[in-house]
Symmetry: C2
Subunit: 472 residues, 2 copies
């Protein structure tokens, strides 16, 4: 057995070989999703299925146990039931595995016997110099080494790290982010945090050159002082977005059943998160919305020029943005005059919100250029009503208009953030998704409602203002 | 000329003949959308295009003026520019038209000259016993008489009335509602409210047997006392949902440019709306969400049983619902015991939120039945993560599971409200829309996020509690 010394977290997060223990021989079993993810990505090193009943699974040689695998094994992902776990930990230690990640639940979150078993496996692992991820987690998604978890996760490496106490929430954020152009350096689902914990990851990610934005879903922590220190240090270096799960009575009950965390007062969390300088969000959707804005809106000013099609839409947009803490200022007279030169004088407004209902693509380009010259404006927000455009003259007009706006966006020096409002119909959603993809190709963030855009921008603008205040 | 006496609002809202004035001869012109809407629906009476330059438009005989139309004309929709409007009003009065609705803008919202012209046309109309709708509006959508406005609006008559000072917002609400099974008795876009106003409509809709739910988008009112009285009387009889536009500085500036309303303090509005007993909402999306809940959730209790797939999803759902003022109570021990009989004992929870990750369709049915027997629970909220299901085994599983939940919903005596969370991809949206349509066919309201469901349910539960308190 090797000397008791811990492998660096960087090596743990970039394994060169993987074993899946407890993988069924039946490919229709849902856990095969994880094996298929590794094969399809593909994972850059050897993949070893472990199952004592068969010799082959999905064209790969299967091994009766971890000990029977010929080469070294860096990363073991176990799907075994809890009761079979202690011997597996012994075996992995003997095999000099770097880290054992456990999908398995039925530990601390279940009952006292489960908690005792969890303590026991951690004791064995620590003694043997191995780390444990989970139990009750999905483990790692690290596209740089092809550790893919699921076939439908993005292959590309990005600059966002997400640590999540919930595997389901990790999956949801990856999938929501996938379709908004968000790519990850690594996603770590860490479940019960029996050994490796949020603080380990935060300390690592603070230094990680591959990570520019850190996001976290956290239900509870064991060492509050260390966590608060790690969080504050991370937030001093990179934007950190935190979703705290289990803030309500019902949510806390669910968190205890989920990852066995202890209740901590919402007041304590609220103060700690505020003081640490992170961006706190309240839903997975908001988490993804904020990451998107952080990725693309590098700016510190709250002043929006809203560009709408229709007066009622303009009124609503201004209300929702100002309610979120942003500002929709009256445009200076000389800017209004420039806009008036080519804006029809009825059924429009050039004061801000700019209601450009009757503008041609050429007019949109001129308007964006003029707005981008205005020092009172920080961000330009065009709002597209997809169903209205489809109703007037179909997909061509809708896409033509959004293309004109995207082209105009490229000519401005200010960030542009699109809102694409669409009804819940297949036609409108399809058209909206095509327009969204065009925007994302042009590095323009897209939101599906004014309120989600306003909330995300408000969070990011406040973040940049806070950072500017600290630096000064 | 007939005696100066006003036609009843009911007759005004159910015209038997329609003229479109200022309709272009070119079918590609966007205003043709409104003529096409009437033809396609079809409108149940004669449609008269008015254009002095041609004799035929879209297979219909065109007339040089309103006076040249052979039969009576109940409803005139005008697209003429503002400066041509006074003579048109004279003509319509002479023709004994019931109501002239004006798309035309460039009146009070533009400048003093526009305000003077608006006052002048109202004077002419009142003297002649004719009503004016608008200007600066889309007029009426009344499916009962085939007054369709747009070809893509629903043909079916419903029980929701929507009055909107913005034509764009009227269109958006109709289209958003269309795909959520919301149908309208009538939608009235009334723009500048130069003559017929929100108070006229509220008084009418309070008595209207075709209308069970009233919704309103209002930027400003001229007679605050009458409006407050009308609103309070309406809210005493039917649920009334109000979105006030122009609450912020930027929004108010936009509202003044849009329909020429005067600024009124947000504080005054807030107090008035609270006292009148309406449900106040803050976006068009929320307006539609609340209508959907009002339509299908006839209940007064705030206690939810959340049925999730995955622990992290359960935690988030409980947090978001309790933050919105709902309650996710611990289930009574005997209910938990009944659920435990068929729920796997790891990776699940039966305490509430119920995490039924490993339940079969049969198990879902049993669980819903048991929850529906629990007197502590008012509403059952299943949460489906569409991408997760698609990732595990494709569309078939996703739809099978939602079908099982819908079938189970039909067996319970309690309202069931679905949340279908899906990423912004074509595959996930398509699958979600299919599931949504299945739910709506079963009269189950569907939301796309927990936060939107929670906000809508909280509003509706508080509304029912308020009503119960008034009745007692």
């Amino acid at each position: 057995m090797k000397m008791v010394q811990h492998t660096s977290l960087n090596d743990i997060l970039h394994p060169r070989s993987v074993a899946l223990v407890g993988i069924s021989s039946r490919p229709e079993e849902f856990t095969h999703m994880y094996l298929k993810g590794l094969i399809d990505f593909p994972f850059k090193g050897p993949i070893y299925p472990v199952n004592p009943k068969v010799t082959q699974i999905r064209d790969l040689q299967a091994y009766p146990s971890v000990m029977d695998i010929p080469g070294p094994v860096d990363y073991v992902f176990s799907l075994l039931p809890a009761r079979l776990t202690p011997p597996l930990v012994e075996e992995c230690v003997a095999k000099e595995v770097n880290v054992l990640a456990m999908f398995t639940s039925g530990f601390r979150e279940k009952d006292e016997a489960g908690a005792a078993m969890e303590a026991e496996i951690v004791r064995i692992a620590r003694k043997g110099g191995m780390r444990i991820l989970g139990p009750n987690c999905l483990g790692l998604y690290c596209p740089a080494v092809g550790l893919g978890l699921r076939s439908d996760f993005p292959r590309e490496v990005g600059n966002v790290a997400f640590i999540s106490q919930s595997g389901g929430n990790a999956t949801d954020v990856i999938m929501m982010g996938k379709h908004l152009g968000i790519r990850f350096s690594k996603v770590i689902s860490y479940g019960n945090a029996s050994d490796l914990s949020e603080s380990d990851f935060l300390e690592y990610l603070t230094e990680d050159p591959e990570t520019e934005i850190i996001a976290a879903y956290i239900e509870g922590v064991k060492d509050g002082a260390r966590f608060f220190r790690a969080l504050t240090e991370a937030a001093a270096v990179k934007p950190v977005v935190v979703l705290k799960g289990g803030c309500s009575e019902g949510g806390n009950r669910a968190a205890t059943a989920h990852t066995g965390v202890l209740a901590a007062s919402e007041v304590v969390w609220d103060v700690a998160l505020k003081q640490s300088g992170v961006i706190r969000v309240y839903s997975l959707e908001e988490l993804v919305d904020v990451i998107l804005a952080l990725k693309l809106v590098v700016h510190s000013g709250p002043n929006l020029a809203i560009f709408s099609i229709g007066g009622g839409s303009a009124v609503q947009a201004a209300d929702e943005c100002e309610r979120a803490g942003l500002v929709v200022p009256l445009l200076p007279t000389q800017i209004q005059q420039k806009l008036e030169e080519f804006t029809p004088d009825v059924g429009t407004s050039v004061r801000n919100p700019v209601d450009g209902a009757w503008l041609t693509p050429d007019g949109i380009e001129k308007a964006f250029k003029i707005l981008s010259e205005c020092p009172d404006i920080n961000i330009i927000v065009p709002i597209i009503r997809v169903d209205m455009l489809l109703g007037i003259s179909g997909v061509a007009l809708a896409e033509g208009l959004s293309q004109a706006m995207i082209a105009a966006s490229k000519l401005t020096s200010k960030p542009v953030v699109f809102v694409l409002r669409a009804s819940n119909s297949i036609e409108a959603q399809q058209a909206a998704i095509v327009m969204k993809d065009h925007c994302l190709e042009a590095n323009i963030p897209v939101y599906t409602s004014v309120s989600s855009a306003a909330r995300a921008l408000s969070n990011v603008v406040r973040h940049h203002q806070r950072r500017a205040a600290v630096v000064m």
